[in-house]
Symmetry: C2
């Protein structure tokens, strides 16, 4: 791991501006651009929500037509549920950026994150696009990380350096997400750039595999976003290429997956108003699907999450969620360990002292290990507690509506 | 509707005591018994959770073997995840009650509700059983309603009187439930007694039908209990019987379903620390399953529920939950009305003033109407907001563990 973010690899430049989308006072960065100076191979995954933001539709269609070289991203408005006008705005953003950079419109992807259902304030974005495209530089990666966050409390950057065929190569990334986070999709926005050259189909397979065990294995609140996007560009600027079968392929694959998993954990650790980072590991399942169902069921249970918030090692609530989420669970076979101590064996209590269990779950991070004792499959989900403060934080988005009214975008 | 509870119909007597299961100070009623003076036909539905309380297993087996005439119920301990010892306790409760009442053990059902995973404090229950069985009377129905509640803030009783074939008959009921409430099962505990005579198979069909549109159509926190039980006894004490095809069958069926739906709504209205009662009605679905998936998805979304708590008419969050819960939803067809006002048409905002929408959702009760515009099927779910106070209320069950330690029941 090295310092640096999405422009850590060679041949990538970026810029970010404050346009007043996120806050009308225009003090926070909210519009960003990443550009690869060389052609790339690209891959991406998008939300499986049936309601898909305009930017997701446009980016997916551009990626289907070929590789991308630039990504424009904004926070404060999700451009979701904005009808045909929203798609027109997303297309226009790509077209204008492409014109300034000498690209085709389809070589630009667009990401938006923020409030759902309000029209994009294009009057705040369009006049700033020339400036955004003009002042690109390799040292502005951190500004991109700042510009894409919303309720996140900190920028999320991960970069690694490794040696491939004797050459130093890098993978850089930035990421956002803190609420509306749930598995079964490629969650949130994650942008990854590497200077290795990789064939498009190899990159694509790798990204899908990596997403499954990282962004698709986390949940904060069980709510799947309309805008989830993970985009990866590989531009070969390091002067080396990798392909499956190469001696260093596994090394590169592991590094890319490491970046994804680290970013996924960053999202969970920065969950809205959370106080715990909990690993829910289900083993001994008859199928991987059953392991996943049970792990997600426990990780999404409001009663289980509330008890973690209270530092209560409540294995009774954990097994109740195991029981309603699994299809083939047999109660009398279920073992549960909490933070390394046996709490439940064969569906009933152990002799572990409740005070000992309680002490362990006062920690900020701990693991819940559930053994169904019915097979050899397993699945791990990373999650959080549920706090009174989370609910309070999510009670109202009035401020966005009031701003949109002033902008003449709603009624 | 008439005043009265589970003993409102003729031929039913009851009793309730304070044994110190719910609170060691033994000031709250926590053990109850209902007895039919005449033979009955009986029906019931139980949780579909794969983790099933000992009392659920015993009651279901007794009901399978024949009709029941007595129900013993306690609050404070769920007798769930208590292993073979828990089943032995549930069987013993039935056997002792049966002996005192001159019944077979299989004619007694047992219900428990409370904390999961702690052994039943039989030393507190067993010595009180003779007294419980001795002092039965028809005017103690309300005490049963008090004895079965846990986090509920009030007793839940519904009784109706109607005329069947010229004779006055009654249906009485009591019910408990305020947390760990979610559809896809027969939720919580509901005990219903009628003095009509009904053939067992007709009663059974009616109960399953009624449960589907009442207790299986509510959610508070998305958490399905291990102990959900709905039991119905019909003893014919009113001197009249009904059967499908009779002129008054539909009248009786409607009355029984009314009692169930009222009790289901009582549970939602008394949800733990809730401030809103929200009806989520999905229409225009291609199948009933799709309507149900979407209605439940919206009703279970923490972000949607948090916005209701804040009085925020956030249709963007509603459609995001529609999108991830439906399988065949088409965003551009979705219409959403909030409390009677059009909020979304064709997947995008309407010209309804946001202040008008906001004013409507300040009410304690309102309806969310979602039209998928893809067919003629519909489903309605009754639900609540999610409050910071709900999370706070559910942070810890330490008190129960501490009590069980004093009783020598845990470590």
């Amino acid at each position: 791991m090295i310092d640096g973010g999405v422009t850590a690899a060679s041949g990538y430049v970026a810029n970010a501006l404050s346009c007043g989308i996120k806050k009308p006072e225009a003090t926070r960065l909210d519009l960003a651009l990443i550009y690869s100076e060389l052609p790339t191979t690209s891959a991406g995954t998008f939300t499986t929500n049936r309601v898909r933001a305009a930017c997701v539709r446009v980016s997916e269609s551009h990626l289907r037509r070929g590789n991308i070289r630039a990504i424009i991203a904004n926070s404060g408005n999700a451009n979701a549920c904005t009808g045909a006008a929203g798609v027109a705005v997303a297309r226009k953003e790509c077209a204008v950026v492409a014109k300034h950079l000498g690209l085709k419109a389809a070589e630009v992807a667009v990401c938006s994150t923020g409030v759902i259902g309000l029209p994009m304030p294009m009057m705040r974005i369009e006049p700033r696009l020339p400036e955004l495209c003009a002042d690109l530089s390799a040292d502005k990666g951190h500004n991109v990380a700042s510009a894409i966050i919303t309720s996140d409390t900190r920028e999320k950057e991960v970069a690694v350096e490794l040696t491939i065929k004797g050459k130093k190569v890098r993978i850089g990334s930035c990421c956002k997400g803190a609420g509306m986070i749930s598995p079964c999709m490629a969650t949130m926005i994650c942008l990854i750039c590497t200077d290795v050259a990789v064939a498009r189909e190899d990159l694509d397979a790798l990204v899908h595999e990596g997403v499954e065990k990282s962004f698709n294995s986390i949940t904060i609140d069980g709510d799947m976003s309309t805008n989830d996007t993970c985009l990866v560009m590989a531009n070969g600027a390091a002067g080396v290429s990798v392909a499956p079968g190469d001696a260093d392929w596994e090394k590169f694959a592991a590094a890319l997956k490491f970046v994804m998993l680290e970013q996924a954990k960053h999202i969970v650790q920065d969950g809205e108003r959370v106080t715990k980072f909990v690993t829910v590991r289900v083993v001994g399942a008859p199928t991987h699907a059953e392991a996943k169902r049970v792990a997600e069921g426990v990780a999404k249970s409001n009663l289980v999450k509330s008890s973690w918030n209270g530092g209560d090692p409540n294995w009774g609530r954990i097994i109740h969620a195991v029981g309603y989420s699994g299809r083939r669970v047999r109660e009398e076979k279920v073992d549960i360990d909490i933070a390394g101590l046996p709490a439940c064996r064969g569906g009933a209590q152990t002799t572990t002292k409740s005070d000992d269990l309680r002490e362990r779950v006062q920690a900020r991070e701990f693991e819940i290990l559930i053994n169904l004792n019915m097979g050899a499959e397993e699945h791990t989900v990373y999650t959080t507690d549920l706090s009174p403060e989370y609910v309070d934080f999510n009670r109202s988005e009035y401020a966005y509506w009031n701003q949109a009214k002033q902008d003449g975008l709603t009624h």
